[in-house]
């Protein structure tokens, strides 16, 4: 150790933190706590406007397509599974299997995004629901769009990590990086779990 004058300091610190939790992981958890509040406010906005829709608002269930949404929900759940497996793999030092899982996660993420793009364009062009022509459109697109951006960021992050795993920047000892990324990805998933229920399903009862 002492002969190496430079190196990744963080690693060294990580193993000696006061709580035993690595800094990166802690940071990620606090960030997610903060993000709860972020999405909490967005979802509240949507729900508040759904509470007393202005007269003449068409029922949202006539716009939503439960089939598509169920499908993308399922896809996102599977991506979470893949992500969990990826983290599991790298923690065991299995870089190869991690790569495979990552690729699947990315694919799932992309499918989800694709569904969302399709959904949005259908709403705009077929159902004539735009972000500015009604309050439903405004809150719906903003909320799901923000979630979509989170997914997109996640996909970019995952892809970067995947590339790193080939160039050697990401190796077995960097499990923590993958783990933090996993936390983020799962969080995006649970936000969707909430959105799926309160934005979509609630409209059908």
């Amino acid at each position: 150790m002492s002969s190496v004058a430079s190196g990744a300091i963080d690693h060294h610190h990580d193993s000696t933190t006061s709580t035993g939790i690595s800094n990166k992981k802690l940071l990620m958890w606090i960030f997610l706590a903060s993000d709860c509040m972020f999405f909490g406010c967005l979802i509240s906005t949507h729900l508040i406007y759904r509470l007393h829709p202005p007269v003449g608002t068409p029922p949202a269930s006539s716009i939503f397509s439960i089939e598509l949404t169920s499908f993308s929900t399922f896809i996102l759940l599977m991506s979470s599974l893949m992500m969990a497996l990826a983290v599991n793999a790298i923690q065991k030092g299995n870089l190869k299997s991690m790569r495979a899982s990552l690729v699947l996660t990315i694919i799932c993420g992309l499918i989800f995004l694709g569904c969302q793009v399709f959904e949005f364009s259908e709403f705009v062009h077929v159902k004539h629901l735009t972000i500015s022509n009604s309050i439903l459109g405004t809150t719906f697109f903003t909320l799901t769009g923000t979630h979509g951006i989170h997914v997109l960021i996640g996909v970019i992050w995952l892809t970067t990590m995947l590339i790193y795993s080939y160039t050697g920047r990401l190796s077995e000892k960097d499990a923590i990086d993958v783990e933090s990324m996993g936390l983020y990805w799962h969080f995006v998933d649970i936000v969707w779990i909430v959105i799926f229920t309160v934005v979509y399903l609630l409209e059908y009862i």
Binding site: T16, S70, M78, L81, N88, L201, L202
Partner: protein
């Protein structure tokens, strides 16, 4: 400094995590399926809302505790996240309460 080191995380107990993850994922999918079916069932409004809230909470908890490892991590992580989650939940609840009051019905929906 080294003597203050707390043993780094213990990942020794994960022999069967793979199966566990897959099982959980299946479970989540099943719950989702049930949710989708429930909304079409002729239950009362409140009953349906309760069922949906409960089932999505269950899914939520499964993901954070299993996929996100909270179950195996230091409880401290759980505490941290729950501070945010609880406050967010509370704020949402309070906002919805305030806005569902009679006084808050917007003129545009009268």
């Amino acid at each position: 400094m080294s003597h203050s080191a707390v043993a780094s995380q213990d990942h020794g107990t994960e022999h069967s995590k793979f199966e566990l993850f897959v099982q959980i994922a299946m479970l989540l999918a099943v719950i989702t399926g049930i949710e989708i079916v429930t909304v079409y069932l002729p239950f009362s409004h409140t009953a349906l809302v309760t069922i949906l809230m409960l089932s999505s909470t269950v899914k939520f908890l499964f993901v954070i505790f299993i996929f996100m490892h909270l179950r195996w991590d230091k409880p401290f992580c759980t505490v941290l996240f729950f501070i945010g989650m609880v406050l967010a939940g509370f704020t949402m609840w309070a906002l919805l309460q305030v806005f569902s009051a009679q006084a808050s019905i917007p003129l545009s929906s009268l």
